[in-house]
Every structure is written in structure tokens, then in C-alpha cells.
Symmetry: C2
Subunit: 201 residues, 2 copies
């Protein structure tokens, strides 16, 4: 007796969707059926958008951020402060920082953090171009805005050790309680750091 399975083309689609981060077999199945049932424009549009992005998107040759051009708009913008550089792990981090409207300098995107466990050393990150960029530049301060987990912290410390000998100031985002957050829900490590870094009123 023949058992019913999805046709090969659907199985293929499910297996590719299953490779996406956070997408398990059940979700992959649901997404595949959605892509088959939704308007052709939406499904084929997604396929085309993947191709298009893979073909067009490059890394800015100065900061490493994602761009469709040779250089990203921030690196080309002469009105931005060229004396302050903010180092982040991912392109998305720049966007979050931009939204604060508190930073007017330039960025450098590492595309990850040091992680010996996963075999990610300095050579795997966008670090060589950072060190080159700092040589004979107008940059006076580098702000480390890597994530605050073990890997982000290790990356910030590693870079600080490389950068300080160049006579450039290296700083780190302040640790503390979230604005509008309840103390009750703040973890004790963060709260400890917030106490250490307490501010005069």
C-alpha cells in the first residue's frame, strides 16, 4: 500500500526552511504550505528577494556594514563625527544605536564576536580592517558596543588591549538598570553593576 507523503518538491522546500535558525520541522511544514497557498507574488517575491539580496549586498569597504554600494551611507557622510567610532557585532546593532539619536560618530561592524568554542578567532572577524582604520586616523575614542554576554565582553577586552597602545581612548556602554524597568525583575549581576556605577543626583 502506498503511503501519502508530501510530493518531492514540497519535501525539498520543507528541508530548506528547516535549515533556518529557530525553524523546526513543524514550523518548516507550516511555512512551506503557506508559501504554496499564499499569493504567487508573495512567494515568488520572497524567492527573488533572497536572490537579489545575495547578489547585491556587499560589506562596506570601510566599516564592514551591509550596503548595496561600495561604501555605506554613514561612511560617506562627512557631517558625521569622524573622531568617535562605535564597534558593534552585527549590522542590526547599528540600527538600534541610530534610533537613540545619541550617537553621531561612525561605526565598525565585526560580524560576530570572539568564540574559541566555535572556532571564531580574530581572523574570522572584521578586525584587521578596524586596526588599519585606526592607524593615522582622526579617531580619538572607540566605544565598544558589543553584546554583554561572555563572548561580547571578551571581544571588547581583546580589542581594548589592541587599541589602547595606539593612544586612542576605549570606552564601553554603561551597565545598569533599564529605564522604565522594575528593580524586582533586574538580575543581580546587572543590579550589582548599577550600584557600582551609581550616579550623583
Amino acid at each position: 500500500m502506498v503511503m501519502y507523503f508530501y510530493p518531492p518538491s514540497v519535501e525539498e522546500l520543507i528541508s530548506y526552511l528547516n535549515k533556518l535558525p529557530g525553524v523546526g520541522p513543524k514550523t518548516a511544514q507550516r511555512l512551506a504550505l503557506h508559501l504554496l497557498n499564499t499569493r504567487a507574488d508573495d512567494a515568488l517575491g520572497l524567492a527573488e528577494a533572497i536572490r537579489e539580496a545575495r547578489a547585491k549586498v556587499k560589506r562596506c569597504r570601510i566599516c564592514g556594514n551591509l550596503t548595496d554600494d561600495d561604501c555605506c551611507p554613514v561612511c560617506l557622510d562627512e557631517s558625521r563625527d569622524e573622531t568617535v567610532l562605535c564597534v558593534v557585532e552585527q549590522p542590526g546593532d547599528c540600527i538600534v544605536i541610530e534610533r537613540t539619536n545619541q550617537f553621531h560618530g561612525r561605526y565598525h561592524v565585526l560580524h560576530g564576536a570572539l568564540s574559541p568554542m566555535e572556532g571564531i578567532g580574530p581572523a574570522e572577524l572584521n578586525i584587521a580592517s578596524l586596526m588599519q582604520r585606526l592607524q593615522n586616523s582622526a579617531i580619538k575614542e572607540v566605544i565598544m558596543a558589543t553584546n554583554t554576554g561572555v563572548e561580547g565582553e571578551a571581544t571588547a577586552l581583546y580589542l581594548a588591549r589592541q587599541i589602547k597602545p595606539l593612544g586612542i581612548k576605549v570606552s564601553r556602554l554603561a551597565y545598569g538598570v533599564a529605564v522604565g524597568g522594575d528593580l524586582e525583575y533586574t538580575d543581580e549581576v546587572t543590579l550589582g553593576r548599577a550600584l557600582q556605577g551609581r550616579l550623583d543626583i
Copy 2:
């Protein structure tokens, strides 16, 4: 001052991913960056799989299930019992039922359930072909295996009313407690149904 945003091709990709069910703006962003960073084979393979599935997959002209051919393998398989028909909402439901190894009849896939709220009436579902299939057929029993929510129940009742006048038996999956499940975690409606439908030991 220029603000940094994702380049247009990335924004485009994010907006298409954001249209997938259960994918919010944050997840769409994460998936887009993954598709840009992962192996080209995986990203372009997904794009190709979407195109391929959209181009190839049809509905079986007999049961409405997904197939790459004119007819699905189950409908073509003469060793399957042609006197019992199982009506399901989605192609995935057939696969779950196949896994039980308890059903050897044929299927009919509705591709949804009646939902007046969403404007889904009988004409929007694969019902006309079901009624036609039942005329002058060898089918003696139709098992309703629609979902047990309001819409699935309404669909089963609606179809039962259409099918019974043809002199065909209509049944419904049994309601009851899950095998291996704790009574404590069974909702009271299900438990009530399990009591009503209690079995002799």
C-alpha cells in the same frame, strides 16, 4: 546627517520574510541576516525550492491533496480501500493519519474549514469535488477528521448534513483523553466527552 538603515535589498528581503505566518519584524531581520551570511547554496537553494514548488505542485484532481503529478499516489493506489474516505482540512493532516497505520482508505483534502468570519464558505473549500466524488461511488463511509475547534466542527456538521442523504455513513474521530496523558492536564470539555464515550473493559 545620514542615518544608517539596511540597504534597500535587505529591507526588501526583511519585508517579504515578515509576511510569513508567525514571523515578526525581529525574526524577519534575524532570518534575513542569516540568509545573507549562510552558505550561498542554502540561501539560493531556498529561493529555488520556493520557485520549484510553486511551479510543480498541483492539487490531485481526485482528492485535492498536494502532488507533483496529475493524481496523488494514494488515489492511484488500487490496494487502498475505496469504500472508506477520510476528510481532512490540510495535506499535513493526511500525513499524521498515515503515521498511525490504522487507516487504509482514501483521503479528501478540503484546504481549510468553513469560517464565515473570514469569508470562507463552502465554495471556497474543496467541497464540490467531494460531493461529486461521492455520487455513484463505492464509498460506504466518510470519516470526518477535521480539527476539533469551532470551525472544524462546523465543517464536519455541514458536510454530514450534505452526505447523509446520499445513504453514506458519516463518522467523526472519537473524542477522549490522550494516550499516555495525565488526567490532571486534560481540559474539562475533553474529559466530559471521554466520560460520555466511555468504553467497556
